[in-house]
C-alpha cells in the first residue's frame, strides 16, 4: 500500500512542488526505516554458531623438569585442560537418522585462565556461543589443586552463561564424561535429564546449579556436588564430591551409601529404596520410600553443642524374598519396618562419622544451629567444620510400611 502511495505521487504530481517533495522524502524515510528496523545490529545465523553444551575441566599432569629448562624462559603454568562439547544443530536435523557421534564434537584447550581459554578457542572455532551451556564437570584432581571459586569465577561473571548450569565433579577424568556414548545421546544434555530420576533413587544428591554455589562460596561453608564417572559405554552418576568451605578445594568423595545416609539426615529424599534383611529367615526384602522427612534439632548446653536428628518415613514393601510370611498381618509389616529403621540409622551414623573423618559438615547441621541458636553459631561459624568433628549426633528413626503393592504372596 505504501509503495502505491509513493508511486502515485511520482506520476500524479508531475510538477515538483515543495509539498510533494516533502511527502516523497517522508515516505522514503519510512521505507528506509522499515528495512533498517527489521534488521538486527548484531545478527548471527544459528547454523554458523557453535553452541557450547558442556564444559569439562581437568588437571594437566605436571611437566617434567627437563622440558622446562630447555625452553629457558619461564613456561606458562598451564594447569587446566578445558574440554568443550559443541553441539551441531544442522547435522542433527538434516540427516534423517542421526548416526553415532555427529551430534556433537569436543574440543580441548590448555591454559590457566578460563577466560583466556575461552577466547583462545576463537582462533580455531567460528563463533563459539556459551548461552546454551548446560553442564560443567570438574575433575576431583583439578579441584585438589585449584579452588572452585577460581574455576567458576568467569562463569559467574559472564553475561551469556546462565546461573542454571549444573555443576558436577568427576573422580575420573572429566573429559571422558563427554565422550561418545553407545546410546548416541549428548552427555552434556543427558546429565541434566538424569536428575529427573531423583524420585526413583536415593543415591543421587540434589542437582547443584551455579546459583546454588554462590552462597556457600561466599560464606565459605562446605557443600556437596554430584559426582559423575565414565563407565564402559556411557556415564553414571555415582556418589558425591565434597567441597571444603575453608579452602574451596576438594575435600573427599562420598560413596553411594554415604550419599544415602546424607539424604536421610537432610530429608532431601523424594524416592528410592532401603534393602533390609528379615531377622528370622535371613532373607532380603526391599522397602520403597514414598516420603521421608527429617528434623535436625540443635541443642546447646553452655558451650556444648549436640544434635538430635528425627527421621521419619512412610513407604511400601515392594519386594520380599522372605518365604512363608503373611504380609497382610500388621505384625509382619511392623517387624520389617523395625529392620528398616535400624538400617537407616546405620546409614546416617556412617555418614556422620565419614564427615567427621573428612572434617567437613555438609548435612545442613550448621544451618540448623544457625537458625536455632544464632548466638552460638556466631561463635563457631568460622571453624564450623572443625567444631563439628567433636559434636555428638544422635538419631531417632521412625518408619511406617503402609502397603505392599498388588501381591500378598511371597516367593516360595
Amino acid at each position: 500500500m505504501l509503495a502505491c502511495a509513493v508511486a502515485s505521487h511520482f506520476t500524479l504530481a508531475g510538477e515538483f512542488s515543495m509539498k510533494s517533495w516533502k511527502r516523497c522524502l517522508r515516505y522514503s524515510c519510512m521505507i528506509t526505516c522499515y528495512f533498517l528496523l527489521a534488521g538486527c545490529w548484531s545478527s548471527s545465523p544459528i547454523e554458523e554458531r557453535n553452541l557450547e553444551a558442556g564444559i569439562a575441566l581437568d588437571a594437566v599432569p605436571q611437566q617434567t623438569e627437563t622440558s622446562a629448562e630447555e625452553t629457558d624462559q619461564q613456561p606458562p603454568k598451564k594447569q587446566i585442560r578445558r574440554t568443550v562439547q559443541f553441539i551441531l544443530p544442522e547435522e542433527g536435523s538434516s540427516s534423517g537418522s542421526p548416526s553415532l557421534g555427529n551430534k556433537f564434537y569436543n574440543e580441548e584447550e590448555l591454559g590457566d585462565s578460563i577466560m583466556e581459554m575461552t577466547r583462545e578457542s576463537y582462533l580455531s572455532n567460528q563463533s563459539p556461543a556459551g548461552f546454551h551451556l548446560k553442564t560443567i564437570v570438574i575433575s576431583s584432581e583439578l579441584l585438589q589443586k585449584v579452588p572452585l571459586q577460581e574455576l567458576l569465577d568467569f562463569y559467574l561473571a559472564d553475561n551469556d552463561i546462565r546461573l542454571s548450569i549444573l555443576l558436577l565433579t568427576s573422580t575420573g577424568t572429566a573429559s571422558d564424561v563427554f565422550k561418545e556414548m553407545k546410546s548416541g545421546k549428548t552427555p552434556a544434555f543427558m546429565l541434566k535429564d538424569l536428575f529427573d530420576n531423583r524420585s526413583h533413587t536415593n543415591r543421587l544428591v540434589k542437582p547443584v546449579t551455579l546459583a546454588k554455589v554462590i552462597g556457600p562460596l561466599k560464606s565459605r561453608s562446605s557443600f556437596v556436588v554430584p559426582n559423575v564417572i565414565r563407565i564402559r559405554d556411557g556415564i553414571t552418576l555415582s556418589g558425591a564430591g565434597v567441597i571444603r568451605g575453608e579452602t574451596q578445594k576438594y575435600a573427599g568423595y562420598l560413596n553411594k551409601m554415604d550419599v544415602e545416609g546424607l539424604q536421610w539426615i537432610t530429608g532431601d529424599l523424594t524416592g528410592g529404596i532401603v534393602k533390609g534383611t528379615d531377622s528370622r529367615s535371613q532373607r532380603d526384602f526391599v522397602y520403597e520410600i514414598k516420603s521421608a522427612k527429617s528434623n535436625i534439632q540443635a541443642h546447646v548446653n553452655k558451650n556444648d553443642i549436640s544434635f538430635h536428628v528425627k527421621i521419619s518415613s512412610v513407604g511400601r514393601l515392594s519386594e520380599s524374598f522372605v518365604s512363608d510370611t503373611n504380609k497382610m498381618k500388621d505384625q509382619t509389616l511392623r517387624e520389617e519396618a523395625d529392620v528398616v529403621q535400624v538400617k537407616i540409622k546405620e546409614l546416617a551414623q556412617q555418614t556422620v562419622s565419614k564427615m567427621k573423618k573428612m572434617r567437613v559438615e555438609v548435612a545442613h547441621m550448621g544451618q540448623a544451629l544457625r537458625i536455632q541458636h544464632p548466638d552460638m553459631w556466631e561463635q563457631v561459624k568460622d571453624h564450623w567444620d572443625q567444631v563439628f568433628a567433636t559434636v555428638p549426633v544422635t538419631f531417632e528413626v521412625k518408619v511406617d510400611i503402609e502397603d505392599f503393592g498388588a501381591s500378598t504372596m511371597t516367593t516360595n
Binding site: 545490529w41 548484531s42 559467574l156 546462565r162 546461573l163 554462590i214 552462597g215 560464606s219 537458625i371
Partner: protein, 365 residues
C-alpha cells in the same frame, strides 16, 4: 502560565495509579536486594523494605495534604506562593536539578544493563538515542498521554514479574530466611535509608495532583500504588535471599536479574526467561524516565516562564551529558546512593516544612 500543555486532558484515577507504579518500579528493582542486604547484613532485609514502604507512605501522605491545599497548581507554582517568589524558584530549581540527575541515573543504568545482557555489540549511543527520542516524543503530549502509556505497560510488567516470582520460588529455600530478627531491630533500621530511592516516585503527586480528574481520590491511589510497590519489592528481596542465600545475594551485581537466570523451565514457552524480563524492564525504565523527564521539564517551564516544549529541549542535553559522567559502574551505583539521600531530604523533609509554613501563613494574617 505559558506551559503549553493542553489543560483539558486529565488523568483518570486508574492512569494515576499506573503512573505512580511506573514511576516507582524503575532501575532500583534489579539492585535493591543487594543494596538493602549490604546494609542490614541479616536475612531480615525484607523487613527494612516493608518499613521503608511505610515511611514513604507517610511522606506521600504529607505531599498529598500539601497538594490538596492548592488543587489547581503544581508544586513549582505553589512553592512560590508558600515561600515567596525567589525562594520558591530556588527550591523548584533544586528539585529540577534532582530530577535531571535522577533521569541520568535511570538512563545510564538502563544503558549499562542493556548493553551487557541484551544488546552486546550495540554501541551505547544507539541504545540511548532511540530511548531518549521516543521519550521526548511521548513527553510532548503531556501527562495524560504518559498516563495512558503507563496504563498499557503496567499490566504487562506485573504479569511478567509475577511469573518471575513463581519461577524463582522453585529454587527457593525457606531456611535462608531464618532465623527471624535474630540480631534485633537495629540492623533493620539501618537498612531503611537504602530503600528510599526504590520508593521514590510517590512524590509525583506534587505534579499530577492538579491534573487528576478526581484529586480527592489521590490518597486512595497513593495507598494502592505504594502498597503494590511494597509487595513487589519485598517479594523480590525475599525470593532473592531464598534462592541465593544471604551471602550469595551480596556477590551478584543485579540480583533480581540473576534470579531469572537461575531457573530453567523447558516446558514453558521461553526457556530463557530473562530476555522477557529485560524487555519489560527496559519498558519500565522508559516510563520512569519519561515521568522524571516530564517533571523536570514542567519545572523549568514554570520557573522560568518558558514554553514547555522549549524547556524539554533545553534539559535533554543535560540529562544525556550527566548520564555519561560516571566513569564506571561503581560510580553509577554511587550516584544512585546519592540520589537516595537527596530524595530523603527533598521529598521527606521539605514537604513537612512547606506544609507547616503554608498553614502558618494562612492562620497568621
Amino acid at each position: 502560565m505559558s506551559t503549553g500543555i493542553p489543560e483539558t486532558k486529565q488523568l483518570t484515577t486508574l492512569q494515576a495509579l499506573a503512573l505512580i507504579l511506573c514511576f516507582m518500579i524503575g532501575a532500583e528493582l534489579f539492585i535493591l536486594p543487594r543494596e538493602t542486604i549490604s546494609k542490614v547484613s541479616t536475612a531480615d532485609a525484607w523487613i527494612s523494605v516493608v518499613l521503608g514502604g511505610i515511611f514513604s507512605f507517610c511522606t506521600a501522605w504529607i505531599i498529598i495534604l500539601l497538594g490538596q491545599r492548592y488543587p489547581h497548581f503544581t508544586f513549582y507554582e505553589y512553592v512560590q506562593q508558600i515561600t515567596g517568589k525567589l525562594i520558591g524558584k530556588c527550591i523548584g530549581l533544586v528539585v529540577v536539578l534532582y530530577y535531571i540527575h535522577l533521569a541520568s541515573y535511570e538512563l545510564r543504568s538502563m544503558e549499562e544493563m542493556a548493553s551487557f545482557f541484551l544488546l552486546e555489540g550495540t554501541p551505547g549511543w544507539a541504545i540511548l538515542a532511540w530511548f531518549v527520542w521516543i521519550s521526548l516524543y511521548l513527553c510532548m503530549e503531556g501527562i495524560s498521554t504518559i498516563g495512558r502509556l503507563c496504563q498499557i505497560i503496567i499490566p504487562i510488567s506485573i504479569t511478567v514479574l509475577i511469573l518471575i516470582y513463581i519461577l524463582g520460588s522453585t529454587a527457593f529455600d525457606m531456611n535462608n530466611l531464618r532465623p527471624l530478627v535474630a540480631k534485633g531491630w537495629t540492623p533493620i533500621m539501618k537498612g531503611i535509608p537504602s530503600t528510599t530511592l526504590a520508593f521514590s516516585g510517590s512524590e509525583c503527586f506534587l505534579f499530577i495532583l492538579s491534573r487528576m480528574q478526581a484529586p480527592k481520590k489521590a490518597a486512595k491511589v497513593m495507598s494502592w500504588g505504594i502498597g503494590l510497590a511494597v509487595i513487589f519489592y519485598t517479594s523480590a528481596v525475599i525470593i532473592c535471599i531464598g534462592v541465593f542465600s544471604l551471602d550469595g545475594v551480596l556477590t551478584r551485581t543485579w540480583p533480581f536479574f540473576d534470579l531469572a537466570r537461575s531457573v530453567e523451565f523447558e516446558d514453558l514457552l521461553l526457556e530463557r526467561f530473562e530476555s522477557l524480563l529485560l524487555a519489560i524492564w527496559v519498558l519500565q525504565i522508559f516510563s520512569t524516565f519519561t515521568i522524571i523527564f516530564y517533571s523536570a521539564a514542567l519545572g523549568v517551564s514554570q520557573i522560568f516562564n518558558l514554553s514547555y516544549r522549549i524547556s524539554m529541549f533545553l534539559i535533554l542535553p543535560f540529562i544525556c551529558l550527566i548520564s555519561q559522567l560516571p566513569k564506571d559502574i561503581n560510580e553509577v551505583f554511587a550516584l544512585g546512593a546519592y540520589m537516595g539521600k537527596a530524595n530523603l531530604v527533598l521529598f521527606s523533609c521539605l514537604p513537612v516544612l512547606l506544609l507547616l509554613i503554608s498553614r502558618w501563613r494562612v492562620n497568621s494574617p
